[in-house]
Symmetry: C2
Subunit: 313 residues, 2 copies
């Protein structure tokens, strides 16, 4: 019986997203289950196995028709699928390739979730048609996935593509989640732009629609930019400078064809790229200036697409 | 007749270095010819072909015993061997794979000289036994070569590994060779450390053996560091901070197993790594802190070794 399907699994701290696809990457169905993190996440792999087996049964698909299962995990994963640690899942060092593979009887491939999402965007998303690509996720943090010649750079310690922790500012007094000071993530994430915004609001006496009661969000700031609010535009300028400087460093190392920008902040659209691009051009090595900038298109599904693609190589 | 030999060619602005090797990378002989840059370097490829043909004839080797010829060129080269430009040779866009291949009747592979030198250090030099490696050349400029899974990252525009142009300092007023301001190369090259040194000597009133007549060189500074000269150690500290910050950015992108440090400045030895390492540790993403730092061992021969390795894949 020849393979007709491939399954992608994106393990998050709250839910496990799953999808099954034909071999061209067309999604046939997707579903999710809760992530049971108790007991050091001991149930997560069996839960995934059970859910897949039931789903395939319901769909009338024999496991022999499944080429394999790919998994994205929130933590460092080396090339051979060893998860070094996944704090949000309660996992220490483990190898889902073997554990889930034994339960399902099909090949399983595991990789870091940000790297897997990058692969998804390359396969069926904003980066379709490219093979040298850096995916940038501007969310709660700043994640990255570096793909060269169609292959993810996992890194020798599973830390490839951790572009959110490129050091950019010696003057920073607040600590990053990684305990460093002045990381790209401290400025270019959703919380980062809010932090820049609050400082700007405090330091300036300029009038602005951002001066309001309640929480300031990344969306508020970009909405205000689109309404031509001067102070919001100054915030976007600072944001663009940090992001441009960080991505310029990335481009000087791997010289990608394209950056694909995703994550919550990127929902503001092309305006994010517009504010970043002049600074990228200013700080990048001239020979690497050829990089294109595109928006991600798969949203939260990038992980299941990329996990599925992981199996197909 | 089966292949027994492989030839490596390192094309510089003044001389072309060549060597032939057995398939395990043992050098059998090396020689060089002048680089004739006149007429837009039109003679360079025919000169190389002639020199190789004569050499093989003299050694009693049939070209059928040669697996191929690799060439390192000082300029951006894409994955398919297209040289985009090589200013020091007088070359515009060209493809030595075809041109030299036609003259010799064996496969020819071309790549950027810094990337080729990286490959050489991985094959038979300081990086032997590693497959995820970044070579750093601290010479007149700062060059780099990123190797992942044994393969050089050429970059979509031939600018992969241009780590000397990572932007590090917003306050820099002098321009880099690339026309940027504040590039790693402006501090970490041989001219960079002299620049830092001269500034420090001017700004400080401290006594130092570096206060002497004649030109200040990188070697003077490191020699003085080894003699425990306080001012020289302050210069080395600034140097180490810039270099550590730059390499930390590289590690956060590709998380290599090892950095192999070569070039003129590295002749000072492990002291260069010692001054850089604390800053690397401070600025790198914790998950990428595993990188080892080793010294290059092939010196000016790295290029011919790496060019030969290019042929073997």
């Amino acid at each position: 019986m020849s393979s007709k399907f491939v399954i992608g699994v994106d393990v998050g701290g709250t839910t496990v997203k799953m999808g099954y696809f034909d071999l061209e990457g067309n999604v046939i169905d997707k579903w999710e289950i809760p992530t049971r993190t108790e007991d050091n996440g001991a149930n997560i792999i069996p839960d995934i196995a059970g859910s897949i087996l039931v789903k395939m049964k319901q769909e009338g698909i024999d496991m022999k028709e499944v080429a394999g299962v790919g998994i994205g995990v929130p933590g460092p994963v080396t090339d051979d699928g060893t998860v070094l640690v996944a704090v949000n899942l309660g996992w220490g060092k483990c190898n889902p390739n073997k554990e889930l593979g034994d339960l399902l009887g099909v090949p399983v491939k595991t990789a870091n979730d940000a790297n897997v999402a990058a692969l998804g965007e390359m396969w069926r998303g904003g980066g379709q048609g490219y093979k040298d690509m850096v995916a940038v996720t501007l969310g709660t943090g700043v994640g990255g996935g570096v793909i060269i010649n169609g292959q993810v750079i996992a890194g020798s310690n599973g830390a490839g593509g951790e572009i959110g922790h490129i050091h950019l500012d010696d003057e920073e007094t607040e600590a990053c989640g990684c305990k460093g000071h002045g990381c790209l993530e401290q400025y270019a994430s959703a919380t980062g732009i809010v932090r820049i915004g609050k400082k700007k609001l405090a330091d300036s006496s300029k009038d602005s629609i951002l001066r309001k009661d309640g929480d300031l969000t990344a969306k508020d700031i970009w909405d205000a930019v689109k309404e031509d609010d001067e102070l919001a535009k100054e915030i976007a300028e600072i944001y663009g400078q940090y992001l441009g400087k960080g991505l310029a460093a990335v481009a000087s190392v791997v010289n990608p064809e394209v950056f694909v920008i995703g994550g919550g902040v990127s929902k503001a659209g092309k305006v994010v790229i517009d504010y970043m691009k002049p600074y990228f051009d200013k700080y990048v090595f001239p020979g690497a200036k050829n990089a294109k900038f595109l928006l991600a298109t798969l949203g939260n599904d990038a992980g299941i697409y990329g996990a599925a693609k992981l199996v197909l190589g």
